[in-house]
């Protein structure tokens, strides 16, 4: 009901970006209702103020007129009416909130692991991806956690947000009812911001909304919406084995390493062009390969496979001169992740020739 009153008004698109989830109607509807109530009060207050200033301004021949300085009836009126109005707003907000807080039984669960400064979405089969892949008209429940500090998963087009708190799980759910369209604000190509700098995928923006340090403003991802479960499965099959291409042929290790570099968030802190970001550039590492590099402690360490492996598994054990410790521990499961470490090493070594 709320929606039919408010969504038809021309000011609707001025505030929120085009919505795409089951919560949009409820949230936008209440927002617009509050907006109209607020506008009414604003016009009343500022209108009365302007009128009084014009009518009663000090000028020749004008003086203060007698009027009472208190009136309990009018005081009660402007206490009780606003109280009733805010109670209505509270109840409507609470009802909408309950809907957002209670996920349906059949929701498809996706684990979200946030860390400085990238998102990792872990699907029930174990596949991990830096973007959130979902399909239309299916409820999804996000089981969120954080590896380091507090982050917050925010998708403006879905009107959802929930913190990722280290040491506990948090939850939110949604159901997408609309595929992103080319004219949505979300589809504007964020040149230079998509991890690999090109081919920004068409999807809804997903931001970190809780301040988390240097990379906070670039800790973002896309929600990729597939038309159906079948389309999702097609993507899933490819994503589940990054060592093989869709035809089932082995991919070169360095290529797999590059994909891991983009997907696992290495790119947030390590450049490929030699420039220093939060961490040393992989290009520098490649150029130093086989030679000694200076650590903060003054120690010289030979840059080789063992050094890179240790830097991934125990990132803060040795760090190069000029850099601060702080890289998150990507994984402790050495054996399981070994092929991926091999791929990353191959990728770093491949940079030397560039």
């Amino acid at each position: 009901m709320l929606n039919s009153i408010t969504q038809t008004l021309p000011v609707a698109g001025f505030w929120f970006r085009t919505g795409a989830s089951n919560f949009v109607e409820e949230v936008d509807g209440l927002y617009m209702l509050i907006l109209w109530i607020s506008l009414a009060f604003f016009v009343l207050i500022v209108g009365a103020m302007a009128l009084f200033v014009l009518k009663y301004r000090m000028r020749a021949g004008h003086d203060v007129e007698q009027s009472p300085s208190h009136n309990n009836a009018i005081e009660l009126t402007w206490t009780i009416i606003p109280t009733l109005i805010v109670m209505v707003i509270f109840v409507l907000g609470f009802v909408g909130f309950l809907n957002m807080a209670n996920s349906p039984e059949d929701a498809y669960e996706i684990n979200v692991v946030a860390n400085k400064w990238n998102w990792n979405f872990v699907y029930p089969g174990g596949v991990e991806d830096p973007n959130l892949h979902v399909w239309k008209n299916q409820p999804f429940k996000l089981v969120q956690s954080s590896k380091d500090v507090i982050h917050s998963l925010y998708v403006p087009a879905f009107r959802i947000k929930m913190d990722c708190v280290p040491g506990r799980y948090t939850y939110q759910w949604f159901e997408v009812d609309r595929l992103p369209e080319p004219d949505d604000a979300d589809n504007i190509d964020n040149a230079g911001r998509m991890p690999d700098g090109s081919d920004a995928e068409v999807g809804y923006d997903l931001f970190c909304a809780e301040y988390c340090g240097t990379g906070h403003s670039s800790m973002w991802a896309k929600v990729i919406v597939h038309e159906s479960k079948a389309d999702f499965d097609k993507w899933y099959d490819v994503a589940s084995d990054i060592f093989n291409d869709p035809e089932g042929n082995r991919r070169p290790l360095a290529e797999v390493g590059k994909e891991l570099y983009l997907k696992k968030g290495c790119i947030q802190c390590h450049s490929l062009d030699g420039s220093a970001k939060v961490g040393p550039s992989f290009k520098i590492t490649a150029d130093q390969w086989g030679t000694n590099a200076k650590m903060t402690t003054g120690e010289e360490v030979n840059v080789d496979e063992n050094y890179v492996r240790q830097s991934i598994l125990e990132p803060n054990a040795k760090y190069r001169a000029g850099y601060k410790p702080g890289m998150p521990v990507i994984s402790l499961k050495d054996t399981k992740e070994k092929p991926e470490i091999d791929a990353l090493i191959a990728f770093i070594k491949s940079l030397k020739d560039k």
């Binding site: 919560f23 009060f41 206490t79 009802v95 500090v149 947000k161 280290p166 948090t170 340090g213």
Partner: protein
């Protein structure tokens, strides 16, 4: 023997003793108030410069300016600047602003008293503020604080930044605030003159009294919280950091248990100023005195029960969220009551649009927007998309800056003639109010749209689609800064070239206007007679002194009422 200039001038608190020691060791509440005024305005200038730097960085979508093209460095600098902006503005400026300066100066005079109850504690409070400020600035000069002014764990216990000096600073500043609050509570309770019952007190005192109660009860909690944070940081005891078995959300509860009531420490004195100024410039008794007085107390009390609305998306339970949302809406009501009573005061008044009144009107406009935009943040479902976005940034700047700062300026322009004995240029004063008003709206209104469109807070870089709104906000910030400079110039100019202020330039009926301008060292030669603080019938404009004088009602051959020529 030739008389010196000082001997020719009547003695007042400014010239009664000389030398830096007469200020540094003064126990005079007026001098302490002036030192606070200089201190908080310096902090405001510093925080304002950081704000301008933030806005300049946000002119372009990429993080570039602050790092000279290096994005990582630019982001780190940006994070430090927004942290310093928030921390300085909150702890060094806005919390001590009105109570420390105008409160210290005028609270005893409005009571007809010679000083506050504990003058030494008052001076101590100022020096604690200075000490806390030095710790804050040392954090700036050391590695750069980048935690945000909220020091959220576990970020604040993991970062390499200077969290320790900053939190010690907060702890010290907390005591400064407690001392001020304690002084005010005792002064108002014990030093009211005969005849001044609670309900004959000026409303500014009701507001500062309510504020002082919050300062006393809430500030110890932030003190304890930063000590726990310090213990965790240095001794690695698990309190807030999950790495040692602590709970980061517990920190948020502790932090906001203070910091939400602190919001009312910031706004209540501002509301008190408005309640004081409006009737004077409307020449009419304040409407609904008791409702305004009790609404201050109600805000102070309910303000303690709503801290959880800062954590609607922090995984608190559904029941908790519902209760906090419910209570949050109740705290809106007393603020609404005040606004309606202020409007009713204007009705059928004789409104004099002097500079302080222009700031009051600006306050009413901006505070109304600030208050109403709290509604979608208090409602649980609409808070989801708006939480931690620019919508929140816009909302609290409308309340804190459009509310408190504008009211503070109104108060400074109103009491300036009393404090320094000089009248400023009315025309340029009004111009400053106009520029500040336009600049403010240009800066912060676009942020509401940015917020609903999905711009999260504390972003050094952003999507190009947001750029036009960011550019508008930056232009507004520059205009706002210019307007504030004009206001400062008007005031400073008056110190040197201003006409001598009459005793009662605005025709107010509170006791400070029965002192000379500026007041003598001990405020009153004899304890003043206490009347209703809002009855103006017996004050008439005297064009010769360009101020109001008291008229004995039934004198034959009474002068007809006249208006100020520049009204």
């Amino acid at each position: 023997m030739i008389a010196t200039a000082a001997q020719l001038q009547p003695s007042n608190y400014l010239n009664c003793s000389k030398g830096w020691k007469s200020w540094a060791f003064t126990l005079d509440h007026k001098r302490i108030g002036v030192m606070y005024l200089v201190g908080v305005l310096s902090a405001f200038l510093l925080g304002g410069i950081f704000a301008i730097i933030i806005r300049l960085e946000l002119l372009t979508p990429a993080a570039d300016m602050l790092g000279a093209g290096d994005a990582t460095a630019a982001k780190d600098r940006y994070n430090e600047f927004f942290t310093l902006h928030g921390a300085i503005m909150t702890f060094l400026f806005i919390i001590p602003s009105i109570p420390g300066s105008l409160g210290n100066f005028f609270l005893p005079i409005m009571l007809g008293a010679k000083d506050v109850a504990f003058p030494r504690m008052n001076l101590m409070s100022f020096y604690l503020w200075v000490g806390g400020a030095i710790f804050f600035l040392s954090a700036l000069l050391m590695t750069g604080l980048d935690t945000g002014w909220t020091f959220y764990t576990p970020y604040s216990v993991e970062t390499n930044a200077a969290v320790i000096p900053a939190t010690i600073g907060v702890f010290i500043l907390g005591f400064s605030s407690i001392f001020t609050g304690l002084n005010f509570v005792v002064t108002i309770n014990t030093m009211r003159p005969p005849g001044m019952t609670w309900f004959r007190m000026p409303l500014f005192l009701w507001a500062t009294y309510s504020t002082a109660i919050i300062q006393l009860l809430a500030t110890p909690v932030i003190g304890i919280t930063v000590l726990l944070l310090l213990a965790e940081y240095t001794l690695q005891i698990g309190i807030f950091n999950p790495a040692y078995g602590g709970d980061p959300v517990l920190y948020q509860h502790f932090f906001w248990f203070y910091s939400h009531p602190a919001v009312y420490i910031m706004i209540l004195p501002a509301m008190g100023i408005i309640s004081e100024l409006l009737p004077v410039f409307c020449r009419k008794h304040i409407f609904g005195y008791k409702f305004i007085a009790f609404s201050s107390v109600a805000i102070a009390l309910i303000g303690f029960l709503v801290w959880g609305h800062h954590m609607f998306v922090s995984s608190q339970s559904k029941m908790t969220a519902a209760i906090f949302s419910f209570l949050t809406f109740f705290v809106a009501i007393p603020s609404g009551i005040k606004v309606f009573n202020w409007l009713a005061t204007m009705y059928k008044g004789n409104i004099r649009l002097a500079t302080p009144m222009c700031y009051v009107l600006s306050f009413l406009f901006l505070f109304t927007i600030g208050g109403l935009t709290g509604l979608p943040l208090g409602a649980l479902s609409t808070d989801r998309p708006l939480h931690d976005t620019y919508f929140v940034v816009a909302h609290f700047h409308y309340v804190m800056m459009g509310g408190t700062l504008i009211a503070f300026l109104a108060g400074i322009f109103y009491w300036w003639p009393k404090m320094f004995g000089k009248m400023y240029n009315e025309f340029w004063g009004k111009v400053s109010a106009g520029i500040v008003f336009v600049g403010f709206n240009l800066t912060f209104f676009p942020m509401f749209i940015l917020g609903t469109q999905g711009q999260a807070r504390r972003y050094a870089s952003y999507e190009p689609v947001f750029q036009p709104l960011h550019i508008t906000a930056t232009c507004g910030a520059l205009l706002l800064g210019f307007g504030l400079c004009v206001a400062a110039a008007v005031l400073v100019h008056s110190l040197f070239y201003g006409r001598k202020a009459p005793m009662n330039p605005w025709g107010a009926a509170t006791l400070e206007w029965t002192c000379t301008s500026p007041p003598i060292h001990h405020n009153f030669d004899e304890t003043p007679w206490v009347g209703d603080p809002y009855i103006y019938d017996n004050l008439v404009w005297d064009p010769e002194i360009e101020g109001y004088v008291e008229r004995t009602p039934s004198r034959p051959g009474m002068k007809p009422l006249e208006q100020p020529a520049h009204a």
